[in-house]
Amino acid sequence: MSENILVEDIGNEYKYGFVDEVKPVWKAEKGLSRRVVEAISYHKEEPAWMLQFRLKALEIYQAKPVPTWGADLSGLNMDEIYFYAKPTEKRDAQSWEEVPEAIRRTYERLGIPEAERRVLAGVGAQYDSEMVYHQVREELKRQGVIFVSIEEGLRQYEDLFREYFATVVPPEDNKYAALNSAVWSGGSFVYVPKGVKVELPLQAYFRVNTAELGQFERTLIIVDEGAEVHYIEGCTAPVYTTDSFHSGVIEIVVNQGARSRYTTIQNWPHNMYNLVTQRAIVKKDAYHMWLDGNLGSKVTMKYPSSYLVEEGARSDILSIAFANTGQHQDAGGKLIFAASHTGGSVVSKSISKGSGRSSYRGLIKVYEGAKHVKVNVECDALLINEESRTDTYPYMEIEDDTATVGHEATVSRLNDEQIFYLQSRGLPEDEAAALIVRGFIEPVAKELPLEYAVELNRLIELEMEGSVG
């Protein structure tokens, strides 16, 4: 594995940057082609309709231009990327003992099996292109909760799968949703039956080990009437000299009276292009929360969105972005109101450090005829250094004049007086700066489960090292 050279991350400690001595059992040839798409479908032993869906999506992808309205994607070369790497013959192992040892060790190092025992209702673990492990607690299985890889979802529950798949994010939506639709591999299939409340979170963990591999997970979550679920995804990868690519699609359907929450703590290394489409359809009196934490990657473009399509639906989007030197976090959210008496909010907190750049990009759309919609947007940017940068692109399309729309945006700099004040009580300068940043994101971070809030604070302290003085 001479190509897998671990290099020092630029100025920052990235503790997940280790490489495993794991060779994929099968890897597609480099680059994107009809042949590669067919090979992926063949390896997954898919029904013919899915292969047709993939090939159609490939055409849509090829027809759409690279978007130029957001972050700079000119460094992303599809010819240099592997689109599929199969880590092991066995998918969806139900015990860690069945996972190949080298892969299992990685998840142990990341603390996943331990968290599973203590605080999670179920875990899915994706390694390169496939889910190598999936397990959910026995009592939830008995209640009919389905939590398997997306491939197993298609194989075992084809009717349910087909009813919802690509209905929330169709391939036509955007270029990278089309790409994902063509080459998707891995991700979770989740179904929570009517009235079932999953108290502890389900977590999926995404790890890319192979150099120059693109990861294209596809997750479909269906929360049936009156049910509740919290799904968490985390991501890390080794640090390579070459750029990597991650482009997921997340589709969520929240049926009448259901409550769901989707939390992302994205901590990719600083050479990852991360272009993700996440969308929820929220029905009558249902609620959905996106909690989106973007710390890593080179470029992230991600705007979790909620479509409030029936009366009484609500959704909140909470977003944290941390852009360090060499990073562009182009993040935000979209709320689309297509029914009366719906509501929601966007709270975005971005931090730019060194020459890092964070952009808030958001859309609030209220359709004509959607009466008495209430929505509030708050985006706050914190700049750590002189050369740090932030931009705000808040789009508002309000077609109904009964809507109540609030919007507030602030930009502040790390404040010398605050630093001196905290230092004068004994805190070293770096710790003082990190504490101020933690305070800044507190309104969002307090919504995280404790373990994740602690981890987020630790990551921010690492990112803030050597930030001032």
Binding site: F420, L422, S424, R425, E429, L435, I436, G439
Partner: protein
């Protein structure tokens, strides 16, 4: 080893700006409380900030010594760990950071080791009791939305928990009503003892009725021009600063 905070011929200016301190000489022995009085613009608050290590000022001449050791080369946090404390005239708001969590971090930073929750809580309880305050102040964000009086009282609570050897109280009395002033004084008096020295910066004699100083120094135009006992404060209250200003010119 000298048991005192010594300010020796201290000259300081705003970074790249005008000179404010023009040769301050002052000694606060451990176990004593000294007051520094003076009119607006005399440099009293600057003195406090320079002692604490505010990077907005630079020392151009002289020295600051804690127990005989110069602290000029130390950063504000290192000075705090040497036992210094500055109660700010305008305590700074830090949204999202809980008052108690911060204070525990500060205490741990000062000691260089973990402080148990039970020990920390006991210290908080004692301070709250002295300051006749309820626990709700602990979970609020640091100074965020505090009234002027709450901010000043909170500075005294920090001081009581951190237990500095030398505290500088920068106009902690200004803007307080008489009840709040008494509570703040109660907090300072509770700290009084052989291991605590303080420099009380104030405009008014009023607080000195409740915290009786061992010495009073009058500062005019960046220098201490005269010193005396508590009676000096009474004289200033009656006669104003004009006579001291004349003294300064005569010097």
């Amino acid at each position: 080893m000298a048991n005192e905070l010594e300010i020796r011929n201290l000259h300081a200016r705003i970074v790249d700006g005008e000179a404010i301190l023009k040769g301050v000489n002052l000694v606060v022995p451990k176990g004593q409380i000294h007051a520094v009085m003076g009119p607006n613009g005399a440099g009293k608050s600057t003195l406090g900030k320079v002692i604490a290590g505010d990077p907005g000022y630079e020392v151009t001449q002289g020295d600051i010594l804690v127990d005989g050791e110069s602290i000029l080369e130390l950063g504000p946090d290192e000075r705090a760990r040497k036992g210094l404390f500055l109660a700010f005239q305008y305590p700074v708001e830090v949204p999202g950071v809980s008052n108690a969590n911060f204070l525990r971090l500060a205490l741990q930073a000062k000691r260089g080791e973990e402080v148990s929750v039970s020990e920390f809580y006991a210290k908080l309880q004692k301070a709250l009791e002295t300051l006749e305050w309820d626990e709700s102040i602990l979970t609020r964000y640091l100074n965020d939305g505090f009234s002027g009086g709450e901010k000043k009282r909170n500075e005294i609570m920090h001081m009581m928990v951190l237990e500095p050897t030398y505290a500088i109280l920068d106009e902690t009395d200004s803007g307080l009503d008489i009840d709040a002033l008494k509570l703040v004084a109660k907090g300072v008096n509770a700290m009084r003892g052989p291991n605590f020295g303080a420099l009380l910066i104030t405009h008014y004699q009023r607080i000195l009725n409740y915290i009786v100083p061992d010495a009073v120094h009058v500062m005019i135009d960046g220098r201490i021009v005269t010193s005396g006992g508590p009676e000096l404060a009474m004289k200033l209250e009656e006669q104003g600063y004009d006579w001291v200003k004349e003294l300064a010119v005569a010097n």
